[in-house]
Symmetry: none
Subunit: 208 residues, 4 copies
């Protein structure tokens, strides 16, 4: 009885979950407090009561624990750098594309890039900067130390660019290839492609 509709202490949690959905779907600007509250089954004033403002809600809705865990797990795994890049891409693409993924934060993050809100600073410092560093080190391990900082950054961008493209391009894909769906199998195939593509390019740098 108290599980789904109870207006108890879980309102706050439901608001955050609804906010993640709506922010991911419409972006910060396009999302309305009213829609978030509607989905959470709460009053319009609930957002301001619990989070102070729409901005505050976005701040709380962003939670990069999944992304951080992914990197920590990857660093502690006992694999060669190439294998670790493959594992990272697998996990990252699932997080980014899988509908069933619990963490929609990556999608909010992706939207913030295209349409920054005041929360971008937090995203950059808490999620993107560590991610850049993590991937930068991985790239260095794969290629060797011969790279300049600029070259290393560009390799990271080449990898992240491929990943985020699949997220952004989804509406286009639905129009051009309606038969394609990001099911688990497809996502894994995509991740494998990005890994192959990127490793080939990185290893070429190594030998070159």
């Amino acid at each position: 009885m108290s599980e789904t509709q109870s207006g108890s202490v879980q309102t706050r949690a439901r608001l955050i979950e609804a906010a993640r959905e709506v922010f991911a779907q419409y972006g910060f600007q396009g999302a309305t407090v009213r829609e978030i509250c509607r989905r959470a089954g709460a009053n319009v004033a609930a957002v301001n009561y619990h989070f102070g403002s729409k901005d505050g809600l976005l701040g709380e809705a962003l939670n990069f624990s999944g992304l951080k865990a992914l990197q920590t797990d990857n660093l502690t795994a006992d694999h060669c750098p190439e294998k670790r890049l493959r594992l990272f891409l697998q996990d990252f693409m699932l997080m980014l594309l899988d509908e069933k993924s619990a963490s929609r934060q990556c999608r909010i993050m992706a939207r913030e890039l295209a349409d920054p809100s005041p929360a971008l600073d937090k995203i950059v410092s808490e999620a993107i900067a560590p991610l850049h560093e993590f991937l930068g080190r991985l790239v260095c391990e794969i290629v060797g130390d011969k790279m300049s900082a600029a070259e290393q950054l560009r390799c990271v961008f080449s990898i992240l660019g491929q990943c985020s493209f699949y997220y952004h391009t989804e509406p286009v894909l639905q129009r051009l290839h309606p038969e394609l769906h990001y099911d688990r199998k497809e996502i894994e195939a995509i991740a494998q492609h990005i890994a192959n593509f990127s490793l080939a390019a990185l290893l070429a740098k190594k030998s070159g």
Copy 2:
């Protein structure tokens, strides 16, 4: 009389030019009709008068002639496929990143991907589909015919993903690396990196 007419025509043209600026800068949703009219030195009602609606203005503001010309020129150039990919990337990245670039349509296009509006259908059919086809053929020429359609598409995505990432990530870059600027030299270096990275990956497929 012809002056009045030409005045009207000029207003219309100024509106379109202003719309391109504002849409590219703020996205469709973030752009306001008032700001567009202000920049065009026109009345608030001018947009609806000339284009029926904000949507209609976006439709008119989209003009892919620059992008099309780029592809046509590339196809008629007498170069090997690898060289043609390099040339394409050079031109494409300049179009995407150069502040002084006359054609801001690519940026509007990039924003539409992240935040689709009713104009996305037009963009997909008139710009993105041909671009995919163009790049798909180029990839095939480079790698050979052995690729599946899915594999080919993914290679195209890997290339376009790298390109568009630099556009989307600009606000992040300003925070993480304030010293970086997309001047002409930097853009050319980026294009060269993407070309090297992609060609290495594609050629690995060929030999593989």
Copy 3:
């Protein structure tokens, strides 16, 4: 036909007039844009369209030309200082208390004193400071030059305090003496009382 209800260029003027009524009645904070627009027969958005904001409307609603004219006329009148004080009080109290008075600005001003809004700065510099100066000179002329600046200021306050009290205390008066009304005759009697009271006090200073 076009006089009372025509939604023509007079909307702006009707808004200002309605704003004066509502601001005078409820104060800046208590007044609502909706009520002002309702009285003016205009849309809620009209205030922002014409004046930018509620603040902007208040700024426009304040118009001290009546108060200024009163002082200018008084200064150019060929009377002794005592007589000029009597004339000023007569005009000032009519402006302040007469329902039929065209200029309700004095009432808005009186409310601003009790509950300052961002417009108070304008009121102080444009209306109150000149009024203080005007009355200060008049007091000096009556009493002579022997007064200190502080003493002069307090005499001005004694006069203005008596005047504004009748405005502020109106709701109380309606409860304690329901038979009293600020008709023209009553207002003139009040003005005469304040003049007698103040002149007696000032002349006592002179002889003292």
Copy 4:
């Protein structure tokens, strides 16, 4: 048990004290229940729980014992009427202007005049009417019995008007004469001025 009760009683008392502060500072309308509860260290619901409503709290916050005591003391003092007016003004102005004054009720009262709330009825019957009567008698004693009721009332208004003006005009004074502060010495000087000014005017009536 008595501790819990006393805790409740204390909360109630703290709410009243906080309400006096906030009502005096912002007026009834401008004061928020949240701010009052915050200052009292109580829950938002406490006001409605203890007093039924914001209105109810204002009713309880009003306490004219200080004002009444002032009048009682004055009546029982063995002085001539002139001296008693001087004493009253001294005490009254301190009550009205001294920051350290324990009884802020006079300020709430003064604000209510400018911006009446439902509590005005209580204020009028319990504080203002007795005050008018008290001052009316004092004026009669000073001037003699020759005055009409209307004339007597106007003299009372002339005195009260001078007093309340200093309270209302404080925000203006801060802008025009930032060096002025209502410290004890200044307040006493003001009270003395009002007494001199008023007594001179009243005595002129007597002899007249």
